[in-house]
């Protein structure tokens, strides 16, 4: 299988007030090229630390992270790794560098030392792919949170990465902004075949992923398709996560003696499952 990222027995330790803690402990997995993976976990579960190791921003205390077979520990290939695996953060305000949209998107390609006309081309294309081309001359300060976050994504796309890691990109957005971002990510994944790794605590955002990993206390406790993951309501609740309200309803019905199937996610499917169960009696 063709993997863009492989992590092997990775542990990350940090020291606070003379105590050593393990933010991530002995985690191994690989991310398949072109896939859409969601990593779920509550705040402090270690998911952000894990994310930052995937492009070499943090180096593992022990174990190895390989990006396209390049070890992130190697200093001479550091830039190469960051170009291949881009990263978008939670607060859109704190990752935009320039006060004009297109100049901000150009920041990455400029750092890569590309020709001006090629940068122009990539910037325009990246802005179009996130639907922000018409705002190319605007000031980010005047845009909504969702729009700013899309510009941050464009800034990564313009470097033509193979994979984008997003660390809670929707946590500070309103529902409209959240929807914009999730739709944009699925579009990039399908149309440009960019591998997406989305770190979040919003369950709804995991619904259409290929694969969901659940993280707790620095370890991956579950790794499956979204349908299988959401079936396990009690486990999710135990690690401080919730499930979409549809799943919660089906789960509650099941506990109340309804013979309803619980491996559905959308509202439509949920309604059908309930209707079916009512007919059966």
């Amino acid at each position: 299988m063709d993997n863009i990222i492989e992590i092997k027995n990775v542990t990350y330790e940090y020291t606070d007030a003379d105590q050593t803690y393990k933010a991530v402990e002995n985690v191994s997995f690989s991310i398949e090229r072109g896939s859409f993976t969601v990593i779920l976990g509550h705040n402090g579960s270690g998911k952000s630390t894990l994310a930052k190791m995937l492009n070499g921003l943090f180096k593992p205390t022990s174990g190895d992270v390989l990006v396209d077979s390049i070890n992130t520990k190697a200093e001479e290939t550091e830039i190469e790794v960051k170009r291949k695996v881009g990263m978008v953060f939670q607060n859109p305000d704190n990752q935009l560098v320039a006060s004009i949209v297109e100049e901000d998107v150009a920041f990455g390609p400029e750092n890569l030392g590309l020709e001006p006309c090629l940068i122009r081309q990539r910037v325009d294309e990246a802005l179009k792919s996130v639907g922000m081309y018409e705002f190319k001359d605007s000031t980010p300060h005047h845009l909504s949170g969702g729009q700013k976050q899309r510009i941050a994504i464009a800034g990564i796309i313009a470097m033509e990465p193979e994979c984008i890691i997003l660390d809670e990109p929707t946590a500070m957005l309103d529902p409209v902004g959240r929807k914009e971002i999730i739709e944009t990510l699925h579009k990039l994944n399908k149309e440009k075949n960019i591998t997406v790794v989305l770190i979040t605590h919003y369950m709804e955002e995991a619904e259409n992923a290929d694969r969901v990993m659940v993280m707790n206390d620095g370890v991956i406790i579950d790794d499956n398709t979204p349908r299988e993951i959401f079936k396990n309501v009690s486990q999710l609740k135990a690690v401080g996560l919730s499930v979409p309200q549809t799943t919660e309803l089906l789960y509650a019905l099941k506990q109340n003696g309804f013979n309803v199937s619980t491996d559905v996610l959308s509202e439509e499917e949920t309604a059908k499952a309930i209707a079916l169960c009512l007919e059966e009696k």
């Binding site: 830039i79 960051k82 704190n94 990752q95 560098v97 400029e110």
Partner: protein
Amino acid sequence: MLKDITFGQYFETRSPIHKADPRVKMVLLILAVVFIFLSQNILSLTLSFLFVMGVALASKVPLKMYFKNLKAILPIIILTTVINMFYGSKESAVLLSLWKLTITYDGLYRAFFMSLRIVLLIVVSSSLTYTTTPNDLTDAIESLLSPLKFIGLKNAVHTLALMMTIALRFIPTLVEEAQKIMNAQKARGADLESGNLKERIKALIPILIPLLISSVRRAYELAEAMECRCYNGGEGKTRMKQLKVSAVDFYLCGFTAVFCTGIILFNIFF
């Protein structure tokens, strides 16, 4: 609302001056300033006046915008006028004598000269800031300072330009944040409006500390984001926007050259 402050003074409209290369504008402004100062007699000052008016009109920025800037420094203009009035040559004919102060015709002439010069300087400088975005100014400064690369300050120019860019980007964000924190503390009963100076300074602590903490956090996050976008101190960096000199710039240079030559001639021959 505070968050609506547009940083810098850029006035959006289409004019030849807007279109000109910011580097050219900056260099020409420096020249113009020098030559306005060199205007020694009434003829050269008239020429300066015509030049500045020409630029102001060509910028298509409403003249009232220029007056706005002049109003801001009105006290300085008045002060200059008053001081110069009393420092005329003693030989000149006396216009008015009040107690120990005398105003001579020469003094009046000087006062007029000096204040007109200041007015012209303000107007011509405003014509740059009104027609050039802060970003373009940053680019121009970076480009004009680029020769420094050859004397061992390789990344200094880049770093300086990046610092200016980031400052421009974050000033509105921080202003907005300061406003939010201020409102939050006011909602907790903080009194920011009354009290003596000491009390007022003390009242700023609940605003400054959160602002400082959040700025540090922002700086840290920005550094990480920049690292993820392959920033490595400007080594081998290129620029998407290349400043280009166009026909407008040649006209502007020609116009300024005529003005400078005129001043030199008037100063020598009259």
